[in-house]
C-alpha cells in the first residue's frame, strides 16, 4: 500500500487545488565582506543597479495595474518609495565611501539594519514589510552581480507553486490563468503572500517549514486550503474525493458571490433589508464584502473605550464621516453612547452602582451628562452630510427620555446651522426597543420616531428577568418564547400603524430559527453580524412570507419556546 505523503502548514487561503507542483528554489544571497579601492566607481555602480531596479519595478507596477487593478499595484508604489528612501541610500553611500565596502555588502548590511528594526515590531503587518525590503534588495543584488533575477512569469501549464516565500513582485508576475494555488515554507496568515492569495481567491498554505522542498517539480499535489494540508502524489481514490469536494466548494463560492450583490427577497416576492452590526471601523469593509445592504447598528463605544480621556468632537466626526463615506449612500444607523452596565470607562469615575445593568447607563447616562452627549450629537450632525445617517438612541424607558434626547439634538442642529455649518436635512432619528415598557407601549412612541430597532439581547433578559451570562438560569434566555414574539409583533404593528419601519439589531435577527417568524411578523430590516448575512439572504429566498405570517400567528398562541421551535422545524 502506498502511503500518500502529507505536509501541514497554516491555512492561509481557503479552497481546493489539484495540479502539478513547480518547486522554486531561490537561494538567498548573503554577500561576503569585501572592500574596493575606487569608492566613487562603486557608488556609481550602486546607483546604476538602483536605477535598473527602479525601471523594472515601474514596469511591474504598470503590469499589475492592468492585470489586477490599482489596489494591488499600490504595494509597488511603496517599493519605489523605498528605493528613493534617503536613509537607505545615505546608509549605503556611507558604507561605500567611508568603509570602502563593495556595493553588494554595503547594500546588504544597510538593508539588514532596517529588516532587523522591522522584525522587532509587535505589529504583524509592519513586520511583514521586512519581506518588501528583501524583495527589493534581492532585485538590486541581482543587478549588481549581473545575474538573472528568478522569474515566475514563464509558466506553461496549470500548476501549484512551491516556494520559500512569494514576494510582492513574485505574486504580481504570477500567470493567474495557470497558477492554481501555492505553498510556502515561510509566512503567516498576515504575510503578503497570504493576503494576496485571499484576494485572488487562490488556495494557499504557508509556514509549512522546509520539508516541502522534498517535493519534486512535476508531482501531483492536492492543496486543502481549509485544513492547511498538502497531499503529494495522491492515489486515485483520494484524488476522486477531492475532485468532488472541489466542485462542490467552487459551486458554493460562485453561488455566494452572486448573493453578495443581490437584494433580499422572499420566495413570494416580499423584500426586506439585511444589514450588519459593527463595533469598529474595520468591520465596515467586511460588512460590505458579506453583502450588507446597510449598517443596522454602529456601536460607538469603541470611541470611548481603551483610552484615557473622552474622544473629541473632531475625532468622532472623522470616524462617523469615514463610516458614512465608506457605505456610499447605504444607510448607517449609529447608536449614541451605550456605556455603563458591563462596559466601564475608567476615566469618567462613575459612581459604583449596586445593579449597573438596571442603572444609570446608555441614554440615561448621556442625559445626565449633557456636555458629553452634545459633543457626540454635534459630531454626528456634522458628519451627516457625507452619507445616509440615521441616529438611534439606546435604552429608552419613557417618552420623556426620547423627547429630551430629540430636544438636545434639535438644539445642536440649530447651533450648527447658525454657525453656517452644513447639516443633512434627511437624518432619520429612531430608538432601540430594549426595555419591555417601550415594546408594550410602542404605539405611544411611534409618532415621535422615524424607526424602531429591536434590541432583543437586552429585551429578552429584561422580559425574562434573567441574566444570560449566569449559567444557572441562562436557559431562560429564550428568543423564541411566545412572550418575546408577542412583544416583537407589538412593535412591528405600532410601526405599521404609524408608517414607520421596524428593524432588529439583536442576535435574534440572524438566528436561522427565528428568521422565518420575523419575516412572517413583518420585520423590515434584519441587522446581524456580517458573517450571517449571505446565509440569511439565501434562507429568506426560500421562504414564503404569506405562509409564515400565518405560522407566526400560530406561534404566538403556543405555550412555550420549545413548542414554537417544533412548529418552525416542522414547516421549514
Amino acid at each position: 500500500m502506498v502511503v500518500t505523503i502529507i505536509y501541514k502548514g497554516i491555512a492561509a487561503s481557503p479552497g481546493i487545488a489539484i495540479a502539478k507542483a513547480i518547486v522554486v528554489k531561490q537561494e538567498k544571497y548573503a554577500p561576503p565582506l569585501s572592500t574596493v579601492t575606487d569608492t566613487e566607481a562603486e557608488w556609481t555602480r550602486y546607483q546604476a543597479a538602483l536605477q535598473a531596479a527602479k525601471g523594472e519595478i515601474e514596469q511591474i507596477h504598470q503590469l499589475t495595474i492592468e492585470k489586477l487593478g490599482e489596489q494591488h499595484a499600490e504595494i509597488f508604489e511603496g517599493h519605489l518609495l523605498i528605493l528613493d528612501d534617503p536613509e537607505l541610500n545615505d546608509g549605503v553611500e556611507a558604507a561605500i565611501k567611508e568603509e570602502s565596502y563593495k556595493a553588494e555588502y554595503a547594500l546588504h548590511t544597510t538593508a539588514q539594519q532596517f529588516i532587523r528594526m522591522l522584525l522587532e515590531l509587535d505589529d504583524d503587518t509592519l513586520r511583514g514589510r521586512a519581506t518588501d525590503i528583501e524583495d527589493i534588495t534581492a532585485r538590486m543584488m541581482s543587478h549588481l552581480r549581473g545575474v538573472k533575477h528568478v522569474d515566475l512569469s514563464a509558466l506553461n501549464e496549470e500548476c501549484i507553486i512551491v516556494a520559500h516565500d512569494l514576494t510582492p513582485s513574485d505574486t504580481a508576475q504570477l500567470q493567474l490563468e495557470l497558477v492554481r494555488g501555492f505553498i510556502t515554507e515561510a509566512g503567516s496568515r498576515t504575510s503578503h503572500s497570504a493576503i494576496m492569495a485571499r484576494s485572488l481567491e487562490l488556495p494557499a498554505i504557508v509556514g509549512t517549514g522546509a520539508d516541502i522542498f522534498k517535493i519534486e517539480t512535476g508531482s501531483i499535489l492536492i492543496i486543502d486550503g481549509m485544513k492547511g494540508e498538502v497531499f503529494v502524489d495522491p492515489d486515485q481514490q483520494l484524488r476522486n474525493e477531492y475532485e468532488a469536494a472541489k466542485l462542490a466548494y467552487d459551486q458554493k463560492q460562485a453561488d455566494l458571490r452572486k448573493l453578495v450583490q443581490a437584494p433580499t427577497i422572499s420566495a413570494d416576492g416580499h423584500q426586506v433589508e439585511l444589514a450588519a452590526n459593527v463595533g469598529k471601523l474595520e468591520d465596515i469593509e467586511r460588512a460590505i464584502q458579506h453583502g450588507a445592504e446597510g449598517i443596522g447598528l454602529f456601536r460607538t463605544e469603541f470611541l470611548y473605550m481603551s483610552r484615557s480621556e473622552l474622544p473629541s468632537e473632531e475625532e468622532q466626526y472623522n470616524c462617523y464621516k469615514f463610516a458614512l463615506e465608506k457605505m456610499n449612500g447605504k444607510p448607517v444607523v449609529i447608536r449614541t453612547l451605550d456605556i455603563g452596565g458591563d462596559k466601564e470607562l475608567s476615566y469618567l469615575q462613575l459612581p459604583k452602582e449596586e445593579n449597573p445593568f438596571l442603572g444609570q447607563r446608555a441614554l440615561r447616562f448621556c442625559l445626565a451628562n449633557p456636555e458629553l452627549f452634545r459633543t457626540q450629537l454635534r459630531a454626528l450632525l456634522r458628519a451627516s452630510v457625507y452619507g445616509n445617517l440615521k441616529i438611534m438612541f439606546p435604552m429608552i424607558a419613557v417618552l420623556e427620555e426620547l423627547l429630551q434626547a430629540k430636544q438636545l439634538l434639535a438644539e445642536e442642529k440649530q447651533r450648527l446651522q447658525d454657525e453656517g455649518i452644513a447639516v443633512s436635512q434627511s437624518i432619520e432619528v429612531g430608538m432601540m426597543v430594549e426595555i419591555p415598557s417601550v415594546a408594550i407601549s410602542a404605539d405611544l412612541f411611534a409618532p415621535h420616531i422615524d424607526f424602531f430597532s429591536i434590541g432583543t439581547n437586552d429585551l429578552i433578559q429584561y422580559t425574562m428577568a434573567a441574566d444570560r451570562m449566569n449559567q444557572s438560569i441562562s436557559y431562560l434566555y429564550q428568543p423564541l418564547h411566545p412572550s418575546i414574539l408577542r412583544l416583537v409583533k407589538m412593535v412591528i404593528e405600532a410601526g405599521k400603524q404609524a408608517g414607520k419601519w421596524v428593524g432588529m439589531c439583536g442576535e435574534m435577527a440572524g438566528d436561522a430559527k427565528a428568521v422565518p417568524l420575523l419575516l412572517g411578523l413583518g420585520l423590515h430590516e434584519f441587522s446581524m453580524s456580517a458573517t450571517s448575512i449571505l446565509a440569511t439572504r439565501e434562507q429568506i429566498g426560500l421562504l414564503d412570507r404569506t405562509r409564515w405570517e400565518d405560522l407566526a400567528n400560530q406561534a404566538l398562541a403556543l405555550p412555550t419556546a420549545a413548542a414554537v421551535e417544533k412548529l418552525i422545524i416542522e414547516h421549514c
Partner: protein, 86 residues
C-alpha cells in the same frame, strides 16, 4: 523649529498607505521633518524609518519641522497624521 503632538486615530495605525502619503508629502518640503513615537525617532522623508516607528492607533506622535516652510509643513503633515485612511 516648530513641533506639535498628534493622536493617531486611523484604526489600522500607520501602515503602508498612510506612510506613503505622509512621506510623499514630507519630501516636498525643504525643511527637516522628524517624527517621534514611543521613544524612537524617524526622518519623516524616509518611509523605511517611518515604518520602524511602529505607529499604532491611539499613539501620540510628535512632529517636528525645522527650516524653510516649517509652518506649512506642520499644518499639512499634522493633518495627514490625524486622518483616517481606507
Amino acid at each position: 523649529m516648530v513641533s506639535e503632538t498628534y493622536k493617531i486615530v486611523n484604526p489600522t495605525g500607520f501602515h503602508v498607505r498612510p506612510t506613503k502619503t505622509f512621506v510623499q508629502a514630507a519630501s516636498q518640503y525643504p525643511c527637516k521633518i522628524t517624527v517621534h513615537n514611543k521613544g524612537k525617532k524617524a526622518n519623516g522623508k524616509s518611509s523605511l524609518t517611518m515604518l520602524t516607528l511602529g505607529i499604532t492607533v491611539g499613539d501620540d506622535v510628535v512632529l517636528e519641522c525645522d527650516g524653510e516652510q516649517e509652518q506649512e509643513a506642520l499644518q499639512e503633515l499634522g493633518k495627514l497624521l490625524t486622518s483616517i485612511y481606507d
